[in-house]
Amino acid sequence: MTNDAKQITNRQSWPQLYVIVIGALVLEILFFYGLMVWLA
């Protein structure tokens, strides 16, 4: 995994990683909202 990480660094794809982290947060919020509505 460390090699993968190095490759990521080498490819300088940080903006994509930032988008992934923020995108994951958005998906989590949507998932939580859906779960709440389904179970209410």
Binding site: M1, T2, A5, K6, I8, T9, W14, L17, Y18, I20, V21, I22, A24, L25, E28, I29, F32, Y33, L35, M36, W38, L39, A40
Partner: protein, 569 residues
């Protein structure tokens, strides 16, 4: 606790410490040096950084309090962490590359580079004061719960909690801390999954995981998202995203106990990846911990539930003049519990049979009404507890999970879950000791008192500083019982300093034209005003974070207009 629990507890804790020390020695190729001792030789991969950062943030109270929060208040606390991934992104873009480029040991070294030695020393001093005192409280908070429930002596529990950590922190330094963090997070994850799985297993026949979620949802405990903007509501989407973002940014960006963790990364990339992985994992982790509490709540829908989870306080009440009043309330409580059990079973049957919506809606209303009635009875019991013992801890949220573990989970797992509480506590205390030592040696001793020592001398000084701070924190823990509610005391202490320190860093990063003198005076005046606001009780203490930050930024900007000490472009 049985002998098996004791054996599991002792083996788990010894295993973690021995493994941490062994691995840190095995990987110490360059031998002992200050760089190795304080920053693990900047050699750690991203997953170490990630787990170390997570273990530092997750204290024992996280694993005691969060399930209790899920039990009594539902899942809405998860929103508090929504700002964390955003803060990780900002840190990765701004803070991490600057700290790495300047090759700093502590966050406060950067402030000398940006301003001058006075701002660095003042900020480091504020950190030492705040972190030193709050670590003492962090030792005391889980110790008092363990000692109350298990009947242990509080002074010995404090000493054990703070002392075990001191052994491997002094001996192995940051590398030992990081390797033990890895083990601690592994144990914590396995044990919490086991606890959740067993809780579902203990539910009545025919009630599975999805059924449990449905019952929790109908009882209002799956309240994950609140989109309403309400300043009075502590946890909603907006306070989590905005307030949480500022709080996490100040914690991860300016608190050396966290900065010291991600500076151990092999490179800027590894530190960044570690923080971003933390941003990805933290919300799901917190969701799962809260879910365990919600499952415990569902479990008690079908079983008898104590009126107050701190059994020791109830026993004191039963032996007091208020015993008859308590008996009456307890009978009322038992009747409500029986009523709730019937409703829960009816609802479960209705959900299974896909009954019409009217039946389920009626069950839901009954369940929520009983829940409210139970809360009223509990409030009356709490009043009696307070009357009987004005110094009593009337908040039993922290006791819910441990009480459930001791009453219902099998021996062996009880020992493992007590080990989880110790492990979580050790993880954050170890980082605190290490950060206190590095700030003392790098920002005070080496910078101000002795600039001519060699590496071996400063390494030795770091070890002694760790011992000194460890003993200081244990002593603070022994006196902490005079401070009332622990969590509140920790938060108040943090709020008095965090906002001001964040303000200094905001000026440093984002207002490049403001110089050291203006920032120094803004910090001094800002801190005095924050303490004044607290002393005069002008606002709720959480707002002191915002006020401190805004005051420092505003004052520094204002003072810089009359100051010729402009920072070099």
């Amino acid at each position: 606790m049985s002998n098996l629990d004791w054996a599991v507890l002792a083996l788990t804790l010894t295993g973690i410490i021995v493994y941490g020390l062994w691995r840190s020695r095995a990987t110490n190729g360059a031998g002992d040096s200050m760089d190795n001792y304080l920053l693990a030789g900047k050699s750690l991969p991203w997953y170490h950084v990630c787990l170390s950062v997570m273990a530092t943030q997750a204290s024992a109270i996280t694993f005691l309090s969060a399930p209790g929060q899920g039990f009594s208040d539902g899942m809405r606390f998860v929103q508090f962490y929504f700002g964390l991934p955003l803060a990780m992104v900002v840190l990765s873009i701004t803070f991490v590359p600057i700290f790495h480029r300047l090759k700093v040991y502590t966050a406060y070294e950067f402030l000398e580079n940006r301003f001058d030695v006075r701002v660095r020393t003042l900020t480091a001093g504020l950190f030492l004061l705040q972190r030193g005192l709050s670590t003492g409280l962090s030792i005391y908070a889980p110790s008092i719960i363990l000692s109350t429930i298990l009947g242990w002596n509080i002074y010995w529990t404090n000493t054990l909690m703070g002392g075990i950590v001191l052994i491997y922190t002094v001996t192995g330094g940051t590398k030992a801390i990081s390797y033990t963090h890895l083990q601690q997070m592994l144990i914590v994850t396995v044990a919490m999954f086991l606890a959740g799985w067993l809780t579902v297993h203990l539910l009545p026949d025919g009630v599975g995981f999805i059924d449990a979620l449905k019952v929790a949802g109908k009882a209002g405990r799956m309240n994950l998202i609140d989109t309403k903007f309400d300043p009075d509501s502590r946890y909603n989407l907006w306070s989590g995203l905005i307030g949480g973002f500022f709080l996490q940014l100040s914690y991860f960006g300016t608190d050396q106990s966290q900065v010291g963790r991600y500076l151990t990364g092999q490179s800027v990339g590894q530190s960044r990846l570690g923080l971003l992985a933390n941003g990805l994992l933290k919300v799901p982790m917190q969701f799962l911990i809260l879910l365990v509490g919600v499952l415990v709540f569902v479990f008690y829908q079908f079983r008898e539930q104590p009126v107050f989870f701190n059994k020791q306080e109830v026993e004191k009440l039963q032996q007091s003049q208020y015993a008859p009043d308590y008996q009456l309330l307890n009978i009322k409580h038992q009747n409500l519990i029986s009523q709730r059990q019937r409703t829960a079973l009816d609802m479960q049957a209705a959900l299974k049979a896909n009954a019409n919506e009217t039946t389920i809606t009626q069950n839901r209303a009954d369940l929520r009404a009983t829940d409210e009635a139970l809360k009223t009875v509990k409030a009356d019991v709490v009043k009696l507890i307070k009357k009987n013992n004005p110094a009593a801890d009337t908040n039993d949220v922290n006791y819910v999970f441990l009480r459930f573990v001791l009453d219902y989970l099998p021996h062996g797992l009880i020992g493992l879950l007590i080990a989880v509480i110790f492990s979580a506590s050790m993880g954050s205390i170890a980082s605190a000791y290490n950060s206190l030592a590095s700030t003392t040696v790098v920002d005070v001793y080496q910078r101000l008192l002795n600039r001519t020592g060699n590496d071996a001398h400063y390494l030795q000084a770091s070890k002694w500083a760790t011992v000194g701070w460890g003993l200081f924190c244990i002593i603070i823990a022994q006196f902490a019982n005079r401070l009332g509610s622990m969590i509140e005391a920790v938060n108040i202490l943090g709020s008095l300093f965090y906002g001001v320190i964040l303000g200094v860093f905001v000026v440093a990063f984002y207002l490049p034209r403001i110089g050291g003198r203006a920032t120094l005076w803004a910090t001094i005046i800002g801190e005095a005003l924050v303490i004044g606001c607290y002393a005069l009780n002008l606002m709720a203490f959480l707002w002191l974070n915002v006020v401190g930050c805004v005051l420092v930024v505003g004052l520094a900007w204002g003072l810089s207009k009359f100051d010729t000490d402009i920072a070099p472009a």
